[in-house]
């Protein structure tokens, strides 16, 4: 690895000497520091390094050495994917793209000094900072639950060990037991995610524990792809799933992790597994940097630059940008617009107009896939949806199978686009 990196830097240095210099000698290369190695950060770092031909010094800070995607983790819960297939290493970003990958936590940002401090004690300087930290949870949003309760009642809403824990708990459910989910209020990561998860848990239970029940406690009136999911639950898992919306107290819930109880509008329910997906906010570093307004970090729709600091770009779930859902696809799309803008600002390369897109696939049952998507363009106020589509109820099995296969292709595509 060290050898590869030296070779890369040497080559890049030679290219720099030959190319016309855009910056005065002595300043060194412009530094871009990317915090967070998910769909936003990894993609942005990769495109910056790939397209700048060594003209930028790109550093990526990400705490995990192997990144387990949150997207597709529901398929693991349903038994359609191996856990290992969700894991991705940063090796290529370092060896093939020359990105300095640092496995550490970013704990603070000094925007005047343009530095970031890491939990390990280092301080890194930047010319441009990219924050792509994903989500954190809003404290107290589900009474009775906090991070100390996440073993008894997992959120499994960040990829990794929590996903494995939830699967183990589902597999250990007693015959005829109850799986409960406390669904999150808007806005949150991956709008169809909780409902795809219900589908995958239902598939597992139908196969392994057919008398078990699923209880969804939901503060929202409506949810993403609702018609498609409800049609699928009726067709594949009739009688298994009960959803309690706000009309029946779904917005008034408390959990008791020690007793494994869910209290809905005062009524106590004993459950065997409880998946609590709390309300969400931008990853903590955004607030630490003073870049949030409420729970999220507002950005300029044409570049993803923070509304509060033009030297900082904020990608993905953490950003408040307008109409795009918080999804890996969106973060990946935003990362490319930001990388193009950052390169333009730092190296004078061509800047092209921003355009964004998103598609979210969900699996309801084996080979029964659905999708929703939209394309977006920046307006002065926000990133605005310009057109959209959604799978239809009553589609034939062949189309649903093709849609599922497409989602497998997308997973291979986006992870290659993120990690090289």
């Amino acid at each position: 690895m060290a050898l590869n990196r030296r070779v890369f830097m040497g080559t890049a240095g030679a290219a720099m000497l030959a190319a016309p210099m855009l910056r005065a000698a002595g300043h060194g290369k412009p530094k871009v520091l990317v915090i967070g190695g998910g769909a936003g950060g990894a993609t942005c770092a990769r495109y910056l390094a790939k397209d700048s031909d060594g003209a930028l010094d790109v550093t990526l800070v990400e705490p995990t050495r192997t990144y387990y995607t949150c997207f597709f983790s529901n398929l693991y819960l349903g038994g359609f994917r191996e856990y290992e297939s969700l894991g991705h290493s940063y090796g290529k970003l370092a060896s093939e793209y020359g990105i300095n990958v640092i496995h550490d936590w970013a704990t603070g940002v000094d925007r005047d000094a343009k530095t970031v401090t890491l939990a390990g004690g280092s301080t890194l300087s930047y010319d441009v900072l990219v924050l792509s930290p994903g989500i954190d949870f809003v404290e107290g949003s589900v009474p009775g639950w906090d991070i100390t309760a996440q073993n008894a009642m997992p959120h499994a809403y960040k990829g990794g060990s929590q996903t494995q824990l939830l699967k183990a708990q589902i597999e250990a459910m007693p015959e005829g037991g109850v799986f409960a989910m406390v669904a999150p209020p808007n806005p949150y990561r991956c709008p169809p995610g909780p409902y795809e998860r219900i589908s995958m848990v239902a598939h597992h239970l139908k196969t392994n524990n057919p008398t078990a029940k699923i209880l969804v406690v939901d503060p929202k009136e409506k949810f993403s792809k609702q018609g498609l999911f409800e049609e699928g639950w009726q067709a594949h898992y009739a009688g298994m799933v009960t959803r309690i919306g706000p009309d029946f107290g779904g917005d008034n819930v408390e959990v008791r992790p020690d007793a494994m109880e869910v209290v809905i509008d005062g009524e106590v329910n004993k459950v065997d597994v409880c998946n609590v997906i709390p309300a969400q906010k931008a990853g903590l570093i955004c607030a630490a940097a003073g870049l949030t307004d409420g729970n999220w970090a507002p950005v300029a729709p044409d570049t993803m630059q923070s509304r509060m600091d033009e030297n900082v770009y904020i990608l993905g779930d953490a950003s408040a940008q307008g109409d795009m859902p918080k999804s890996g696809f969106s973060a990946n799309s935003q990362a490319k617009v930001a990388a193009n803008a950052i390169r333009g600002a730092l190296t004078g390369s061509r800047v092209f107009p921003a355009r964004y897109s998103n598609t979210c696939w969900s699996l309801i049952a084996p080979e029964d896939g659905v999708k929703v998507g939209a394309s977006y363009e920046p307006t002065p106020e926000k990133i605005a949806s310009v057109s959209s589509f959604i799978s239809q109820t009553g589609e034939d099995a062949a189309l649903r199978k093709t849609t599922y296969e497409e989602s497998l292709g997308w997973y291979a595509g986006i992870t290659a686009d993120m990690f090289g």
Binding site: D51, S387, F389, L408, W410, G413, I414
Partner: protein
């Protein structure tokens, strides 16, 4: 229904069961080339065959039997297929049958975006049809090439647009969330190294909603003629 056509010694040769000097009279049950012509309609979007057949999205298929995989000059194959050819894969009845059944299982990184043909009889028929366009015993017949079907009639000035590959590279970043740059195709087809004309025609077909896929219709809807040309120029040159 379909009477099996007997073709000389093909299977036996392909399996290496008999050596040089084999008798041409040895016959093996094979497929019906006429029925295979119908099956070939699935292939004809990307492959031409017959007199004047040219390389298109895929290579032309004249003289396929006995050809080393990934070695037809002038066509830019996926790395995987080229490697398989270098490793010794030769197209014969057996290898083609396996490839057509599930392309990715024989050549995992192929850019041929085709799920495969499950039905053995259909594969036999297709192989009998393809066999006609290889050397003896069947010479290339006097028939029109099969893939000159025009999907969308585009004005010459649209087809003549010269794309800006740098802009194309930026626009392509939207495509690459799903379509893999190296041409791997699992569930989502490869669009790498397509001839520009095919790429342009396909995107216009989506933009005009002649092709049905909702994601592609949406993507194409906001692309100008120049942007489609830019994308075509970029994907043509990909390594």
């Amino acid at each position: 229904m379909r009477p099996a056509v007997l073709l000389a010694a093909l299977l036996a040769v392909s399996l290496g069961l008999i050596g040089p000097g084999r008798a041409a009279a040895e016959a093996v049950a094979f497929g019906d080339a006429e029925a295979g012509a119908e099956v070939f309609l699935w292939c004809s979007g990307c492959h031409e065959i017959g007199p004047d057949a040219q390389d298109s999205v895929g290579p032309h298929l004249n003289g396929l039997f006995g050809r080393r995989a990934g070695a037809h000059e002038g066509y830019d194959y996926s790395e995987s297929l080229a490697r398989m050819g270098a490793d010794g894969l030769v197209w014969d009845l057996e290898t083609l049958d396996a490839y057509i059944e599930v392309p990715q299982s024989l050549v995992s990184g192929t850019r041929m975006s085709f799920p495969g043909i499950e039905d053995q009889q259909e594969r036999n028929d297709l192989l009998a049809f393809l066999r006609r366009y290889s050397d003896s015993p069947a010479n290339i017949p006097e028939a029109p090439p099969t893939a000159l079907h025009v999907e969308v009639a585009l004005p010459e000035e649209v087809l003549a647009l010269v794309g800006d590959p740098e802009y194309g590279e930026y626009l392509a970043s939207e495509c690459l969330t799903c379509h893999q740059k190296d041409g791997s195709a699992q569930g989502i087809p490869s669009i790498t190294k397509w001839p520009e004309r095919n790429f342009v025609v396909a995107m216009h077909a989506y933009r005009q909603q002649l092709r049905p896929h909702p994601v592609m219709q949406m993507v194409a809807a906001r692309l100008s003629d120049e942007e489609i040309a830019a994308l075509a120029a970029y994907f043509k040159t990909l390594d």
